[in-house]
Amino acid sequence: MKVNDLILQTTTTLLTFIILIFSVYLFFAGHYTPGGGFIGGLMTSAALVLLLLAFDKKTVQKALPFNYLSIAAVGLMISIITGVIALFFDVPFLTHTFGYVELPLLGETALTSTLPFDLGVYLVVVGIAMTIIQTIGESE
């Protein structure tokens, strides 16, 4: 796409950040309010798709030099490892736990082992969505 759309590009640069921050919020809020790894990941990919639509692939690749296939693979690994860790505590694979911890700045915070699992889901969703869109988008 070689369109030079000034309005789209200017708003996109700003909007992408807002969407990205919102997606991160969604990801963390997921355990208590709507959101989670899947939606957060999709939202992030939507922001990146917006970038791809406004700019060409090369510019985006330069700004965000990620290999999305590896992101998906890393995400999958994180999820699997989260499940495996449970085995070391003598409970079945993928058993989760949670608790409340006093953290600096944040005060009392709920922490759960589903968070790293969800992080894996998040990364996989971003990775595959972007891989598919990029490979299909660039084929001629």
Binding site: L26, G30, H31, Y32, T33, P34, G35, G36, G37, F38, I39, L42, M43, S45, A46, V49, L53, L69, A72, A73, G75, L76, S79, I80, G83, L87, F88, D90, V91, P92, F93, L94, H96, F98, G99, A110, T112, T114, F117, D118, G120, V121, V124, V125, G127, I128, A129, T131, I132, I133, T135, I136, G137, S139, E140
Partner: protein, 803 residues
């Protein structure tokens, strides 16, 4: 998770690291990293010797799926320990050997060692699992990893053929065994081997007993290459020699022996077990040794020899199972066969392992394994020659090597078969010692062929690709260790008492009170000794005259071999299934959609109306508000628009409108999670649609044909109606309380989350999610590979990814 679980899984963990070691330590042969592991594991398992020698066992449980009784239970008894020691001990030697056998520069070492470690871990899992389903998983993993190892040189057609053959046959057997496991579960309600053994009375009297027995034996016979399933083993010799030495002599093929030994306490009470195990064993013994004599490839000789030796062990286990039919065994009458089986199992691993390594050395140093080209290597390779003599003489059952001792005991066991006072064994039993003796003669002949055709006779350097010389010392150490064991066990067989006795206790029925292992060299002038002398005399005579009588092998009709049957069956299967597939696979996605939706209409519609499940009850229906009506109208209008627009772009936009309205419905019905997901998915998928817009074909003219339109109309109408019917019926007839109340109650209490949807996704149904993202990742890799590779191909560039 305890240490022993970690030990079983450690090969898999190391396998993850192997590619990195291969990449970052290029100057060091990857095998050295791998070599340490089996060595450490061997020492670790040695510690358990004192446990099993005291008659104790070691158990450790790791929860896997406790709700349906599937846990990873490690059960280490004498039999398991014996196999674990073989797997790690021979494994260490094979890895050491492979370091010198496989060139660092030429071979893809990372994949080789990953497969080998996978195999090692799987094998340990098979012999140490108490849970049958866990054992089955490891069992199939050995099939898969051996498939990968046999096809290691995958550019050779024969390697691929051999790998496929072994996979098809052993996996077929494995699936049969799975059915057997399920039958056992139906009988006793337990997957635990120990519990099944404890419930042996229930099993024996059950009507499913014989089918289960047959299915288990299918698994064992295919794995252990028993006649007529032995055909895969010679073809598996296409694997690199270290693999052959490991998988096809010392470990994988012995998994079948292990299974028979392990399940003996469950099944041995049945005459069927006795007949099948000993019968197939003795036939395999004879046929394998008979076929080995005509081979000209050294590895093929060894392959058939392995087949026959596995038959030997199998037949001994069969005869030994007769012990289960007597309440009191005077002077261990029928246990000696089992003792011989276990003893020969160890001996076979030592001499066959060393022989495979010797053949590998010959192959490596001369470039050929064909005995017609070889000869006179004795002076050039004196150490290898000595090793070959030790291994082959032990295999032939000559004193003073360990093979002699177990062969004598084998004869004793076979002679005792004639004394069993049941099942007409007084007359029929003569078959066993006769076949055993004839097979031993052939064993003697091929053992001699192996040594003397290779190392003596005329040296023919013009037929060899390389100038032969003695192998490097690293390659010699493993066979030297094995050959020394052959000699040591030959002179001091009682060293093995501590290993054999506990193993016997695991195999023999509990009514055998005590077994004492006594192995002597000199047991007087008895029938067994005269049989051995006869074997040697007749064997020497036949070996010297093999050129004259060897022609009988040509008489066999080539058209009637089992291999022809296998190949023909494969071709027929291929043709048949491709004809069947072509009859309904058109390659057009719209045809598939017609089939899928048509099937759905017929199945659901017929089911719904035939079971009277269709039920509309409008009393509980909430009134439709103004928003819902508007949204529904928008959806209907956009759906209808799709049908009538002429351009694809408009169709996509209309489809998007349907999706967005749907997500607004979710908002109205207070499902914010779904609404969010639907919105973002809709956005991304519309963007994706637009991206591949250019590649889509024009809306084709075919779609305008009347027949096409009518079919589509019927199908879409049908699907719509069925879905509406189902929706209404579901709402009208609530048979059970909705599951959502459970999640409402449990999601905060058990998972600490207030968002039910998220808790279900990541916690209650975490497995689902994990596999979903795994599938998605694989799909992404697939799309990437498909498009990128096709692009690279079209450009005429290098195949592979274009960065």
């Amino acid at each position: 998770m305890s240490l022993i679980h970690l030990v079983i899984l450690s090969p898999f963990l190391l396998a993850i690291l192997v590619p990195f070691a291969h990449k970052y330590f290029k100057s060091i042969h990857t095998g050295w990293f791998v070599f340490v592991l089996p060595l450490v594991l061997f020492i670790y398992f040695l510690q358990f010797l004192s446990t099993t020698m005291n008659g104790e066992t070691y158990t450790s449980t790791m929860k896997w799926i406790p709700s349906i009784g599937i846990d990873f239970v490690v059960y280490l008894d004498g039999l398991g320990l014996l196999f674990a020691l073989l797997i790690t001990g021979i494994g260490a030697l094979v890895v050491l050997y492979s370091i010198y056998y496989l060139s660092k520069e030429k071979e893809a070492l990372n994949t080789f060692y990953v497969y080998l470690l996978m195999f090692m871990g799987a094998m340990l899992g098979v012999v140490l699992s108490d849970n049958l389903l866990v054992m089955y998983s490891f069992w199939e993993l050995t099939s898969i990893s051996s498939f990968l190892l046999i096809s290691y040189w995958y550019h050779r057609e024969k390697s691929r053929y051999g790998a496929q053959k072994s996979m098809l046959i052993t996996v077929f057997g494995g699936l049969a065994m799975l059915a057997g496991i399920i039958l056992l579960y139906l009988m006793t309600g337990s997957f635990s081997i120990r519990e099944n053994i404890a419930n042996v009375d229930v099993i024996t009297s059950h009507e499913l007993f014989v089918p289960a027995l047959l299915l288990f034996l299918l698994g064992a016979f295919t794995k252990s290459a028993q006649f007529p399933f032995h055909i895969w083993l010679p073809d598996a010799m296409e694997a690199p020699t270290p693999v052959s030495a490991y998988l096809h002599s010392a470990t994988m093929v012995k998994a079948g022996i292990y299974l028979v030994a392990r399940m003996s306490p469950v099944f041995a009470g049945a005459p069927e077990w006795f007949w099948l195990v000993s019968g197939f064993g003795i036939v395999t013994l004879f046929w394998g040794s008979f076929s080995a004599v005509k081979q000209t490839d050294l590895k093929a000789i060894l392959a058939f020899s392995t087949v026959s030796q596995l038959g030997l062990i199998m037949s001994l286990l069969g005869i030994g199972s007769a012990a289960a039919h007597y309440d009191y065994i005077g002077e261990n009458a029928y246990t000696i066969a089992t003792l011989a089986a276990v003893f020969h199992l160890i001996n076979h691993a030592t001499f066959k392992g060393s022989l495979f390594m010797v053949v590998g050395i010959v192959d490596h140093e001369t470039g050929t394994r064909d005995i017609r080209k070889l000869g006179g290597l004795m002076n050039l390779m004196p150490i290898t020659f000595t090793l070959a003599i030790i291994g082959a003489f032990s295999m032939a059952g000559l004193p003073p090597f360990n093979g002699f001792l177990s062969k004598e005991m084998f004869f004793t066991g076979m002679l005792q078969a004639t004394e069993i006072s049941a099942w007409n064994m007084e007359t029929l039993g003569m078959i066993f010692p006769v076949l055993a003796w004839v097979a031993s003669v052939f064993t003697f002949i091929y053992s001699m062929v192996l040594v003397f055709k290779t190392f003596t006779g005329k040296y023919q350097p013009e037929k060899l690709d390389k100038k032969p010389h003695e192998a490097p010392i690293g390659m010699l150490i493993p066979p030297i260790i094995l050959a020394s064991l052959v000699v040591i066990f030959g002179f001091f067989p009682m060293l093995l008492k501590g290993v054999i006795e506990p193993a016997l206790y695991s195999i023999l029925p509990s009514n055998v009170l005590s077994v004492e292992v006594k192995i002597y060299h000199w047991h007087g002038f008895n029938t067994e000794l005269f049989m051995t002398i006869g074997v040697i005399l007749v064997g020497v005579l036949l070996y010297l005259t093999v050129a004259k009588w060897g022609k009988i092998y040509d008489w066999f009709p080539q058209r009637l071999t089992l291999n022809r049957l296998y190949d023909g069956g494969l071709v027929a299967l291929d043709r048949g299934s491709s004809a069947f597939t072509k009859s309904h696979m058109t390659g057009f996605i719209r045809d598939y959609l017609v089939m899928i939706f048509g099937f759905m209409i017929i199945l659901l519609g017929v089911l719904l109306f035939s079971t009277d499940a269709f039920n509309v009850n409008l009393t509980n229906v909430a009134p439709a508000g103004i928003y819902e009506v508007i949204l529904a109208l928008v959806m209907v209008i956009s759906a209808v628009t799709i049908l009538f627009v002429k351009s694809r772009l408009a169709a996509i936009i209309a489809l998007g409108a349907v999706g967005y309205s749907m997500s607004l419905f979710f908002v109205l019905f207070r499902a914010p999670d779904l609404a969010l997901t639907q919105l973002v998915i809709e956005t991304v998928s519309v963007a994706l649609f637009l991206l591949c817009f250019y590649h889509l074909p024009e809306l084709s003219k075919k779609m305008d044909r009347l027949r096409f339109k009518v079919t589509n109309f019927i199908i879409s109408l049908g699907v719509g109606l069925i879905v509406i019917f189902i929706g209404l019926s579901v709402n009208s007839s609530k048979l059970f309380e909705s599951i959502s109340s459970y999640f409402e109650a449990a999601s905060y209490k058990e998972a600490g989350g207030k968002n039910m949807v998220n808790v279900i996704l990541v916690d209650f149904r975490g497995f689902d999610t994990l596999f979903e993202i795994a599938v998605l990742t694989i799909a992404a890799f697939g799309i990437y590979a498909m498009i990128k590779l096709r692009l690279a191909d079209k450009k005429g560039g290098v195949k592979g990814e274009s960065k």
